[in-house]
Amino acid sequence: MRAADVVTKAVRNTYRSKLRTTLTVLALFVGAFTLTLTTAVGAGVTDYVTKQVASLGADDVFIVTRTAETTTDGPAEYDPETSSASTGTTGPGLPGTGASDPITEADLDEIASFDGILSVDPVQTAAVDFVQYDDGTKLELTISPTSSVTNADLVAGEQLDEGGDPQLVLPADYVDPLGFGSAEDAVGSTVSIGITDVLGEQHTVEATIAGVSQESLLNSGAGANTALVDELVEVQSAGIDSDDPRYAIAVARFDTSLSSDEVAALKAEIIDAGFGAQTIQDQLGVIKTVIDGIIGVLNAFAVIALIAAAFGIVNTLLMSVQERTREIGLMKAMGMRGRTVFALFSLEAVAIGFLGSALGVGVAALLGTALSGALSAGPLAALPGLTILLFEPASILGIMLLIMAIAFLAGTLPARRAAAKNPIDSLRYE
């Protein structure tokens, strides 16, 4: 029998017991619908987090601290050689840094001496009082400590130019209160930043707005390039030089040509020397694990629904095989081979799987897109850039294939029954 005829016949057979097929399709529909939505939530959240990773930093840097990695299990053992009393205050706002011992100039030199490290910069913090544009309202502002190594999720303008004049990346929610018409208007303008030095005197520093950034979960505050941070720190210290400056964290850039194995080796080397070193990916690993866990549980529910639906397919097709006993016997008597009968019934299962999954996926995508839009405009407006339900063609196709595969597997039992039927027994069947 021709393959095309087998397919046509199988598809036609699905329409022969309409009610039964419809019910089975509905069961699959529920599974497909759920799986599509949970997968979309996973994709949406992951996509959002990935954007946040980009806003957190370049992928050629280690965040170096003086302690062991905070992601390692349990507290670190006290060692008089390397440990010193912790202040208990948290480091400047970067996830994963935690409380740490300070890094000294000598430490910076040591880190810089590792092969593959291109440069090491301490992360300096400047406590800014306000930002003001053109005699307008003075607004409080925080400068993100690692902004010189991060890529902002920009709404307008460009990333910070590390080589140039003092520059600022302004959070989007400052655009309006500062008196700019739009994010685009703000780019290129000069703002004054107020800062109080250690002696209690207030100064202002000028900076150009390089870009406007999307608000971000993980990296808050304005971005400042090295030139601006240096100037602010200088003003803040009021000319008083500390002999032995100490830093909470430093940023070490490594050679981008290194393979991931080499990066891992380099990281191990730095850790062996008594530092904590984490790439941005390391820091986000924990968050991703949590998200993946939640999505995994949701997917498990969808898969349970699909397994229930699979039994529905087995049942439906077993009834069809029973009902069509004589027909199968006749076809076999007329020379149809067992494997063709098998193909007919398993393809019928696949066709049912296709109907259920196409409907489920389609309805989920339509409803989900509408829902996602409504959520982004309403309850989730505080998280700009988050599309809570992200439908990716590849995963939609994957879900459909998965369901059709499950349907096929479910169909093999009835199909084998049908294929094994003896033509005479079938013809004698009343």
Binding site: R2, R326, E327, M334, G335
Partner: protein
């Protein structure tokens, strides 16, 4: 020797095991020549259907040998057996076995579909077969909507669409009233007469049996008389 379409030597069939063992057919030898019209008659349970199923390769004999058109069937694998059945035999059963919800034409062309014939050729030959049985106007109808006599003619059209050399008919008129039964009977005999198709018909109907060239009478799974042998013997 090629003149022998079917050559069965001492074939037998036993059903069941142990105390339920039942010999439905024992040591049956029949030779059927091309173009013959053979009626298999006998009481209910005498083994008529069993014999027909064995001759039509729908079942395997436990004893004896069977050759179809000179080919020993024991030498054939499952695929070749299926092909041989598809090519050589046409079937008409007491129950019509039409696929419900499917058009008359699709029912008729089923053997061709199984044989892998292209759809266009299938339709042509299906229509030709229906025309032969004066059912051309019913080609598009749903098979379930036909009368009993029409259904049985559709079944005959299906049996002859693949141009078989043998048509097996098990009680072809059993389900029909006398008048329509006569039409079906006439149709089958005409195919045998005009197209030389070998006809092997299992029947209770003495009339139909009498109109065949040859009658084989079974009792308790054995041939008690075969008109062809009597002729030879006479």
């Amino acid at each position: 020797m090629t003149d022998l379409v079917i050559d069965a030597q001492g074939i037998g069939k036993t059903y069941g095991k142990g105390s339920a063992r039942f010999t439905a057919l024992a040591d049956v030898t029949v030779q059927i020549r091309r173009g013959e019209c053979v009626a298999i008659v006998g009481k209910s349970g005498s083994g008529k259907s069993t014999l027909m199923h064995l001759l039509a390769l729908l079942d395997q004999p436990d004893t004896g040998t069977l050759a179809i058109e000179g080919v020993d069937t024991r030498a054939l694998n499952a695929r070749r057996t299926s092909e041989l059945r598809n090519r050589t035999f046409g079937f008409v059963f007491q129950q019509f076995f039409l696929t419900p919800g499917t058009s008359v034409l699709d029912n008729v062309t089923l053997p061709l579909e199984i044989a892998g014939v292209a759809p266009r050729v299938r339709r042509e030959r299906g229509r030709a077969a229906l025309a032969q049985l004066e059912l051309d106007d019913k080609a598009g109808s749903n098979a379930t909507d036909l009368s009993g006599g029409q259904k049985q003619r559709v079944v005959i059209a299906r049996a002859l669409v693949s141009e078989p050399s043998v048509i097996f008919a098990d009680e072809p008129t059993g389900n029909l009233d006398t008048a329509t039964g006569a039409v079906v009977e006439e149709t089958l005999l005409r195919l045998n007469r005009e197209q030389g198709i070998t006809l092997i018909v299992v029947t209770h109907d003495e009339d139909l049996a009498a109109r065949c060239d040859r009658q084989i009478v079974l009792r308790d799974g054995r041939i008690v008389s075969d008109s062809a042998r009597e002729e030879v013997a006479a």
